[in-house]
Subunit: 260 residues, 4 copies
């Protein structure tokens, strides 16, 4: 019976038909409804009207995820990686996947005992982890992970360049604009908020230079930002393109014809 | 006579000379004038001055499009796909192309009987469907459709990633900024408006974080948005490039004549 | 003597040494100083202080450009394309290059007789044409022209798509936002100003939707804008890349080895 | 002993183990702490609380960098390029690398004697040069330099095009918007601030056209800006891609061993 349950719960066990498929559809539906509930719950008008429904659905979700979590821990020993009856289960519970599952339900139980409202509010935020659960079922998530892992070195390099320019531009801008706008460009960290938005060309308009020198520097920042942000973008784009191309047709060696 | 009329009305019937060409030029001119009329009609100064002209042109357009629609239904049986005298015509009337033609004229007739002003205003909006009619004659529209169909899977995947990040970022941002700006970041749906504009680097300035944590999160959102939006962009770009390349003849060497 | 002068004035006559080089450096310097004068002339503080200098430099520039224009018309008959002593000169004066030269000086003479201040102000704007003269000497200008000519068809297609979406989005947005903000989204042309800035992700913040439906539509517009604007960008980028690549190493046929 | 010290201080001397590695880690740590100190020093709340710590750390940093600078000048003669005991040291002190090292410490000594507060404030800005020192140790910095040097010609060309369009658009916009908004579009330099932000799609919202003609011109500017800024971006992207590809080993087929 434990083996049957394992095959139903584990999508990676190669069994995607019958009961397993039904279970997965039910699970993704509940996760999607949770996402909608988390979003609509914050709209006062809707929250007041359907308060009862939100609480009931929350209770049902936590119950469902708790039962699922307990069952997963029970059946995990069917997997060869976690075959020891005790250490295998501990090892499974410490895997990233199982920790995300736990973080999606744990806050509910903690809030039952928590009396401090500030802590309760922060714990509620952890319900968003339920959304990450759907990632296990999505190609997109695994694709992102794989592309980011492939291009790790280049991405870190370009991120370092952006951070370096961010510090240089913010420091110079602070000394240029602080005397003219002491409350807006109040410190270098405050100026960094301007710098990242200038480089990413967001431009909310809450903070911008007013002196001639500051405006010249801001113009240079925008041009540099466009050039610098093109780097991680192009790295990710080429990474995704390679991924899509290889998934469709594995490349072959032009000399011997074998797949690479 | 029905066959002659069919050849005139249907551009895809391979006949693009003589009367058929003249008819198409007249049709596209009327559709373009309709677009200009719809746009200028909303400018109060122009609407007051040329009110009579707008009403007359509207009547003429509806009459023209109605006659054209009736004729198209009458002659459609010349097409092998709709050859049955009754079911063929019903089938034609349910095609996307014919439904767009109907939606472009139907609102006028409904407003004759509608007494509720709110409904009349909504129905007027449907006149924009007349513009979609020009798409039948444009390469651009068919090219977009074909590229989007080719890259459907990748586009949906990247859209899913954007929506996923949108929900995650909005949820975290709501819990971070709501205590500081309860009227601006009033709910997660309100925060999603911020999130999409931050990720697309629009930055209208009507909603932006003020806390240090919120600003840090907004900076991360801008960087992630640039990277994520690069994905559908690059997919569409590569799709359009493939399309343009394939539409042109395969290039040949001018010296030896072999394909390159 | 006319032949010598022709060789000095015409850079395309293959003579880029000695007097011709000196003349070209003097000409480009005067054009650059004109650009700086046009820009600084509008700063009240600088204009008051150096009013005399600006007027003198303007007089000198017009005199210099007039003498140069007259000489160019006199010597143009040395060029085989304009060899007839009368019709050749007329033909030269009607060439794009000579018309730009004329537009750079004509406004000065017209303003001597013009009494209407509004016309004088508009004519002053034409002095910017002096900048376009430098384009004759720049690789960049010729490269842009050549790339735009190569990719004309694709650029017009993508521009048509942007205009089409602009009209559709503006029309829908007007009907959605007009009831909520009748003075801001006052007409479809006013809404088009919003639409172009939303699609290009500029977001000045002077006009933005406030209703839930309007915000949803604006989000869709931003995503569509990013995708649509990627098209002309990628066309230009590939055009420039091809241009740079071909200038460096002409491609060869892989079968016969000859240049294409 | 001078030779040993030279091997420790110079990373390019091929010795990256033992004492040399420890020294480099210490140096980069002190530079990073300096960056954090420069940033946090400007936050009034933190500056008041840890004023003593900031002053002490500044003294320690200057002392450390001074000792390091003196030692580098002493040992530089071990390098074949600077082997003369006097002229070699002068030559080393005039190298870009040594000048950056000097600029990172000199301001401190100058401020000891400076009495004018304005000069002291400007000199403090020069402490940011300490950050540039880390660039000597970073691949990113050398990669940027190398890519920019490779693509110098194309980058200057595209920059010239942007500046040219900037002047043309600003001049026209000034004549269009100045009569409507004389205080906002007060001069062409003021309009250039708008133009660069419109072309880079930043859009802070502090300056934007209000007339119909001005809005049309702004729309054209945004479209042109997207196309023009795509040029340096694509040049840098292709440059970085070439660099990354060449730095990695040429790929080989794992089956037959030949280069692909």
């Amino acid at each position: 019976m434990r083996r049957t349950l394992y095959r139903i719960l584990e999508t990676s066990a190669g069994n995607r038909r019958g009961v397993s498929l039904v279970f997965n559809i039910v699970l993704i539906t509940i996760i999607t409804l949770n996402a909608i509930a988390i979003i609509l719950h914050t709209v006062p008008a809707i929250n007041e009207k359907y308060a009862r429904l939100f609480i009931d659905f929350e209770l049902f979700s936590v119950l469902f995820f708790t039962v699922e979590y307990v069952l997963r821990v029970w059946v995990c020993v069917e997997n060869d990686r976690y075959h020891h009856w005790f250490w295998g289960r501990i090892q499974y519970m410490l895997s990233v996947s199982a920790l995300i599952d736990l973080l999606a339900i744990a806050p509910f139980y903690v809030t039952l005992f928590a009396t401090d409202l500030a802590i309760v509010r922060i714990l509620r935020l952890f319900r968003i982890f339920r959304l990450f659960r759907v990632s296990k079922y999505s190609h997109a998530y695994r694709m992102i992970l794989s592309v980011v892992r492939d291009k790790k070195e280049e991405l870190l390099l370009s991120l370092a360049m952006i951070v370096f320019m961010l510090i240089i531009l913010s420091s110079i801008m602070y000394y240029v604009e602080h005397p003219a706008q002491p409350t807006v460009f109040s410190s270098i960290p405050a100026t960094m908020w301007w710098a990242i938005n200038a480089m990413a060309t967001v431009g909310y308009g809450d903070i911008h230079p007013v002196t001639a020198l500051g405006k010249t520097l801001a113009s240079v920042s925008a041009v540099m930002g466009i050039a610098l942000f093109a780097l991680p973008t192009s790295i990710l784009v080429s990474g995704f393109n390679e991924h899509i191309r290889y998934r469709k047709m594995p490349p072959r060696c032009p000399h011997c014809g074998k797949e690479l």
